[in-house]
Amino acid sequence: MIRFANTQLWVDDQDEALDFYTKKLGMEVRADVTLPEVGDFRWLTVGPADQPDVAIVLMAIPGPPLMDADTVAQLRELMAKGFAGTVFLTTEDCQASYEDLKRRGVEFTEAPEERPYGIDSGFRDPSGNSFRLTQVRELATN
């Protein structure tokens, strides 16, 4: 059976990203290895403590020969504008999580707001990747 495992985000700086995802978002490091034989490629993954099956791969933006300078610039621009990708997170208490994360220095683009599906908020990681943090409402059944 085919199942979801990891997703990948581009980051400007893997050390900065690691600090953000672990110290601020409270995720844990799954893997962190540097491979000298592949140009010091660093495989770095993080994930929530109680979801051991899934992880986010924090991948450094490569340079040549894999990605030319123009492509790197385009990618950086997309990231800075918040268009490189969105990760959807849930929480049991959006307001409490919002206050906790703000205290730790997370930049929120949207404070918690009531929506039909629950209470939703938005923030960015240091590279500009977008995150939704949602307290999902249980839909009433008839």
């Binding site: 844990e28 962190d32 592949v38 140009g39 490629f41 495989w43 403590a49």
Partner: protein
């Protein structure tokens, strides 16, 4: 018999240990989070969770250290500091006592962390290219 969940303040202290173990946190900090004196807190914590707060916090740190030993190539010293412990000597002693082998031996008992790295093939191909010496046909003027 009805199950009475641990009092909220004790849970808050335990959550703090789970969330911020990597900081220089001690039992005094946990007791403060629970709003109790250290002695009172230790007694109530052990009654609620079956182990002392010191043991709980240390075990959390050692569990995380074991995971980092398996999944990363960081040094033992670096991992010790990463989980909020200051003394590498006592970290090694506690780890060995808990896991039955030293941090280094624990790491060696598993495949290298590098085996987990799922390097995308395009990256392997681009970055793994050997630096070739100039092929004969590329150098110098054509032979007459």
């Amino acid at each position: 018999m009805a199950f009475a969940p641990p009092a909220r303040h004790l849970l808050r202290a335990r959550d703090l240990a789970d969330a911020r173990y990597f900081e220089p946190l001690g039992v005094d900090d946990l007791a403060r989070a629970a709003g109790l004196s250290r002695a009172h807190f230790s007694r109530e914590f052990r009654q609620a969770f079956g182990e002392s707060p010191h043991a709980y916090l240390l075990t959390r740190r050692l569990e995380r250290a074991a995971s980092l030993l398996r999944g990363t190539d960081r040094s033992v010293a670096d991992i010790c500091l990463s989980v909020g412990l200051q003394s590498i000597g006592s970290f090694t002693t506690s780890f060995t006592r808990t896991f039955g082998r030293s941090p280094t031996a624990h790491r060696a008992a598993f495949p290298p962390a590098a085996n987990q790295a799922r390097v995308p093939t395009c990256m392997l191909r681009a970055r793994g290219r050997p630096q070739h010496r100039t092929f004969r046909e590329d150098s110098g003027p054509p032979r007459t």
